[in-house]
Symmetry: C2
Subunit: 364 residues, 2 copies
């Protein structure tokens, strides 16, 4: 089965110098992949001109404009209709690509994806999901990681459905377990939203495990961990910071004196195996879920290896029919979601109007 | 200067078997410390009977009852007036001790401390603060870590004042920097409460650095990181989970085969130095801030070494006059805090009445 992947080549901290080599490497590794490289055509052609063996599977689509990394989402959405990001997303909307991958500005990617692709029926807001390694040797899928900071219990239920569908599709698990991120032993067990969300989840057909705590993410207690985007973002970034500090300390200890440096030489194979196991680049590629199309967000600072992993994540999602499976998984919830007070029909007008142009998430 | 420390000897997962040896070890290390061991007197006397050299500085106070680790706070508060926890807190209230240390049930400790000691003027809710190691080789003080899950911007301002006072006292820093935990690059920069809190902090006399992200905790970007208790608790526990997973993986890699095991022997001194540096037991002992008395909460699972660190934290707080300094630091905020809509005078009645008996935090 051929998978057509649109790549926003201008996005990310490093732009073309990372995205194009990563795309070519992926095309070489994956003969079923067809790539549409979107951005300044002359520059991209200049980079791939000498590559002859892949040209039937690697095409270039020109886009004049570039969304910068710090551009306000609303400006990127309204002011740059010919950005590489938007053109790439349009390819998914028009059915020319099965998935889009971008390392660009998260806010803009979310806003444009939402405006162009629209959300699925029953989904108010898209969510950002990512996988984290766990003690069991598998991965834990966590969402939302920053798209929605003020969430209702109904939003958390929607995230749970989306995350569960993602794991069901990609990992081919029948009924992934879902945990609601909460606080445990301390004074009060959870805030009001978390309490109500637990009730909704318990009443749903999902395989709801119950509340989980921060450490359960890495224990792998459940396949999916659901939380609001503020909490998820803080937990993710605190983890990144801690991992970086610990890596620095290990390096520090092994370079502290001649003896330690000598030991480091001996310990090198073991340490590098450890390093490979926890390499965050392997887990690069977050999914923007809840849209009528598959959108993958790479870390902005990704190198070519990391960006290739994000492309792979998009490829796997499309190959496993994530979108169709999510829509099917939504069916049992149709009545429940429609009954929720916050569930709004997906009624963005085809023609942008000022009030609706800006996605709800960014307006919150 | 003598510091009198009341110790709830019955608290924690291990009770007397951890608290009493830790207390004796601390008394040996710190000739300025006077310890009041609270709990079942016969059992404690049985354990310290043969210790003759410390008896002038180690006294026993009997308490019949024990607050269990899973007891609802309200029940511990109303039903067990002669618990070791309550008797120990009473010693602080009555001026017989300068600080109380407990490894017991967090919710009960918070509820009883709040009821017995009351909050400081201008403080609505006590907060839990702890220190975490950072890349700079120092520590970052973070609060709240789970006492308050639904916070207003005014509460976050109060936490900032309390955390800043703590660092000023213990680390003898003139004007500690304060960061507000928030989310960065993603779609929206922070929720509504965080936005308003940033305004309040900017207008305050605190040394406000601005927003920080999860990774800044371990970078040591600011001396103090302020957040609501839900976010703080999740970030802390996610960090604990990640650290545990990484430690397990390192161990795993070094025991994977005969060669790796041999390398581990060589690398042992370096790895154990690393382990010592990140040993979470060294950072044991959270401060319950905002009360009219110094209360230190040890991790429930603490061993004797860890519990001794918690006693040390209490000792240092009392020795540095944390309470007096906090009250002094509150002065410039008196008008600002009184003007906040959520600031309520500290008007719990001396005689418990049903509606007020339960502390506000637990009633949320």
């Amino acid at each position: 089965m051929t998978v057509r992947i649109a790549i926003d080549c201008m996005g990310g901290d490093h732009g073309l110098s990372v995205t194009v080599p990563a795309a070519l490497a992926f095309a070489r590794h994956e003969p079923q992949a067809q790539l549409l490289l979107v951005g300044r055509a002359a520059d991209i052609e200049g980079m791939i001109g000498r590559v002859t063996d892949l040209r039937d599977r690697v095409q270039v689509r020109h886009a004049d404009e570039v969304v910068t990394m710090d551009e306000p989402p609303a400006q990127a959405l309204r002011g740059k209709r010919n950005s590489s990001m938007r053109v790439a997303i349009n390819l998914v909307k028009d059915g020319a690509a099965d998935v889009v991958v971008s390392a660009g500005n998260t806010g803009a990617l979310m806003a444009i994806s939402r405006f162009v692709l629209k959300t699925l029926d029953g989904i108010d807001r898209p969510a950002i999901a990512s996988v984290l390694p766990n003690e069991r040797g598998g991965t834990t899928t966590m969402l939302d990681l920053g798209a929605n900071v003020d969430c209702t219990a109904e939003h958390l239920l929607q995230f749970a459905i989306l995350g569960s569908s993602l794991v069901a599709a990609i990992d081919e698990k029948e009924r992934p377990t879902v945990g609601l991120l909460n606080i445990g032993e301390e004074v009060i067990k959870g805030n009001e939203v978390a309490k109500r969300a637990a009730e909704l989840l318990r009443a749903s057909p999902l395989n709801f495990h119950g509340n989980v705590e921060g450490n359960d993410i890495y224990k792998g207690t459940t396949d999916v961990v659901v939380c609001d985007g503020f909490v998820g973002n803080v937990a993710l970034k605190a983890s990144e910071g801690l991992a970086q500090m610990l890596a620095g300390m290990i390096k520090d200890e092994f370079t502290r004196g001649p003896l330690s440096r000598a030991l480091a030489v001996f310990a090198y194979p073991v340490l590098s195996r450890f390093k490979r196991r926890v390499d965050h680049r392997r887990y690069n590629g977050a999914s923007l879920l809840g849209l009528r199309g598959i959108v993958i967000k790479s870390h902005g600072s990704a190198d070519a290896y990391a960006f290739e992993q994000a492309i792979r994540r998009g490829y796997e999602a499309a190959r496993h029919g994530l979108l169709e499976r999510t829509i099917a998984a939504m069916q049992p919830f149709a009545i429940q979601l429609a009954a929720q007070p916050s569930a709004q029909p997906n009624a963005e007008p085809a023609q942008p109007q000022p009030a609706n142009d800006q996605p709800r998430a960014a307006a919150a």
